[in-house]
């Protein structure tokens, strides 16, 4: 017997139960029961955390050179729970970058980018780029001494890129140099343009996954199972929720034990003795220090292009050579290089 309330909704939303079940309850392969296959959902969850905390921070944040630092100080020192929200946002950003990278690593090593999923690899790479850009522009908004100079250096690096460099720098700064239009520009990019782009990309990413289905990967113990699949709802969703709750506990603990700090305010007249970007740019920063600016930027451009184009490059290698597992060894070398360059930049003063 139909519930009157359900009937009420059915009359207004002509959606059959069976359609709803199909939409939310797609069978997913058994390998997804492993937690490290839930790393795709983790960045999405962290994106929601970032969006919620970001909206609350935006209530107080004032994006101008005259007011930005003071408003961040107010958030950190005076606003009720401001320190907590800012710290969650800061650590959430770190976790989100890490989760996207880990997800990307898992996809890479399991070959989940191969035909017919090349387009979703491109979408994923764009999501990684957007996430890093969010991190960069977010740190610039603090307008403390290091974030100011980090932004100036970042813009100069962007400006050194051949052909599009000047345009990119102009786009970022709103002029030749850091000026009064720069901070509002970073704010709009950070709080509107990139989140909207990221939300659309995530939607496309998930839609493509649903259209193509999750890459089926059968481990030894999966073969023993009676069914090849299990339900997304509630089984896999519960795994994601559990990871989300554990992440929330860890984020809260980090926010409480190591809250976000605030350095001295930006001083455009005084260059700090040491300029360092956020940790996720350490690898690029160290790379820049190893070579001449032009060589470093061109080689980085080449590496980024290779990463985007990897599904086709990998296919070509597999088709034309005997090294069918070349991608694994290249991947291992790449990850070790990223780790080494990041740690190197972290441990040295200059």
């Amino acid at each position: 017997m139909a519930n009157p309330l359900v009937n009420w909704f059915h009359e207004r939303l002509p959606l059959a139960d069976v359609d709803l079940r199909e939409l939310t309850n797609e069978p997913v392969p058994n390998h997804l029961k492993r937690w490290w296959f839930a790393l795709g959902g983790t960045p999405a969850y962290l994106f929601v955390v970032q969006a919620l905390t970001g909206v609350m921070l935006a209530v107080y944040y004032q994006p101008s050179a005259q007011t930005a630092y003071e408003s961040v100080r107010y958030i950190t020192e005076e606003a009720a729970y401001g320190w907590y929200l800012r710290s969650l946002h800061k650590w959430g950003a770190t976790f989100m970058v890490a989760a996207v990278i880990l997800h990307q690593m898992r996809v890479y090593f399991t070959g989940a980018y191969r035909k017919p999923r090349e387009i979703n690899w491109l979408v994923g790479m764009t999501i990684l780029t957007c996430t890093l850009m969010l991190g960069f522009t977010g740190y610039c908004l603090v307008y403390e001494q290091l974030s100011y100079w980090g932004a100036a250096v970042g813009a100069n690096i962007a400006g050194s890129v051949p052909v599009v460099g000047d345009f990119t720098k102009q786009l970022l700064l709103g002029g030749e140099d850091y000026n009064e239009r720069t901070l509002p520009r970073f704010y709009v990019i950070h709080a509107a343009a990139l989140p909207i782009a990221l939300a659309l990309l995530v939607a496309i990413h998930i839609a493509v996954v649903r259209l193509q289905g999750v890459t089926e990967t059968t481990f030894k113990d999966d073969a023993k199972r009676e069914s090849k699949t299990f339900n997304f709802f509630p089984d896999h969703l519960m795994t994601e929720v559990m990871i989300g709750l554990v992440l929330m506990v860890i984020l809260t603990a980090l926010a409480s034990i190591v809250p976000a700090t605030l350095g001295p305010p930006a001083d455009p007249l005084t260059t700090p003795e040491v300029i360092k970007p956020e940790w996720f740019f350490y690898v690029a920063f160290r790379w820049l220090k190893l070579f001449s600016a032009q060589a470093a930027i061109l080689s980085m451009g080449f590496i980024v292009f290779t990463m985007f184009a990897w599904p086709w490059i990998d296919a070509w290698i597999r088709r034309r050579t005997r090294f069918s597992e070349a991608s694994v060894w290249i991947g291992i070398a790449g990850v070790l290089a990223i780790i080494a360059l990041t740690v190197w930049e972290a441990v040295v003063a200059h």
Binding site: W36, T94, A98, I101, L102, M105, R106, F109, T110, E144, Q145, L146, T217, T218, F219, K220, V258, T261, L262, G263, P264, D267, L269, T270, E273, K276, E278, W279, Y282, E325, V328, G331, I332, V335, L336, I338, I339, T342, V343, A346, V347, A349
Partner: protein, 543 residues
Amino acid sequence: MSLEQKRWIIAALGFLFLLSLVYVQRLEVARKHEEAGLAAHAVAVPANSKACVDCHRQNTPGIVDHWRGSRHARAGVGCVECHQAAADDVDAFTHEGVLIATVVTPRDCSRCHLVEAQEFQASHHAAAGNILASLDNFLAETVEGGPPAFDPHSPTPGKAVDAVNGHASAFVGCQQCHGSKVAFLATDGGRVSVDELEPDAAGKPTNLAAVGRILKDQNGKPLFHSGTWPNTGIGRLNLDGSRGSCSACHSRHDFSPRRARQPENCGKCHLGPDHPQKEIYEESKHGVAYRDLRDAMNLEAKEWVLGVDYTQAPTCATCHMSGHRKNDGKVTHDPGIRISWTNRPPVSLVMDTDVNGRIVTAADPEERARLVVSTAEEKRERMKQVCSHCHTPSYVNAFYQQYDELVILYNEKFGKPGQAIVGALTENGLLTPTQFDEEIEWTWFYLWHHEGRRARHGASMMAPDYTHWHGMFEVAERFYVQLVPQAREILAEAAEHGRGAAARAAGAVLDEILARPEHAWFVEGAEDKTEAIRKAMEERYGQ
């Protein structure tokens, strides 16, 4: 490659990535804490100072900790850079295989801070050691003390006292601010100082006989005269011929600019009954604002430029030394270049200075024009630039008018007359040539050296209570109730003892002064004014 193998590769790389992330985050958090001022900056000990730091961390951890918190440490300047010595330096000795010297002089600091050292050498601060030939030093060494060593007159239970150091007050008092003449003990029982060593322009001793007389311990380390070292007096007379001590303001071993910017730093010496600049500042609106707003004054800033890094309140450093927006942030280490009066002597002098920085006292306008290379007005304009960050020109000019008028009032009514009265008594033989052996000499000293300075300094820095109650009120009381009666007593006694001519000559000076209109109330009475005040009080308070 099997899926299981890939699984382990992902697990291993993922774990390594997370591990590196934890490590990088730990470093990043530490770095951000340093940047936010919540932790000391990480310091890489320079290789040539590693042995010093390792040993002194155990023996004198305070020195090492202070140094670790310094900009020197962050810039890679270690122990050796400052304490290194050359073989021909008079104070060089080998310590743990390294040739070093104990005392770091402005000449040593000038190896890196040349401009600052040159400005300082030209300043009145660097000349503070001149007190060794002044009335103040006579007070400390003779009046308060005695011969360099004299016998105690009775035992001190629990302490074997063989001799009394008659200069102890000078060593521990005057010279800890003004600076000592640093000296070694000599093999003949005397001292060897810059006077005997006669250093050349490079600071190397030219009198090798004096060098040979320096007493050393069994390790070859020269032994300092304990009265002259330790000393951080600002006008210290160093063995290499340089004057001063940078650590007077930039306390070793952290040399904190933050501390040098705070009035408490200057207050080590600029306080007390004779020149209470610190207390005067605290009473002023400037000091009140500083106490309230110091946390917002960005005292850690690298340059600390008024109008750029802060505007909340000025400190001593702000007005007298620091850079500001209107002079492109140029700091000076000569605090005299913004001062237009000197209120140190009995009668205040206008700070027109000659090529050597000395005040030109000549009265003849042509001679003044020939000698003066830096006028008081130029100095005042520099100070007005500082004032103008918060005050309008008319406000600043009116303040300076108030200040000038108070100084001139003191000079004309009490300073010059007091000097003339005591001078007349001295010139006519009515006082002994010895200072401070007669009451009127103490009276006069109190009048100009303590109360007169308090009044003038109070006016210079907007402290009304010091200008009036601690200043002019006490000056007036000292003048009318002590100096004049004591002078009259001396004159009467002289006349009584057959020295009428001298008494008349000195008395004429006193009479001429008291006949002036500003002293008429004292001689002729001021009944009309007293009556007017009595009536006003009755109207106001009913009594």
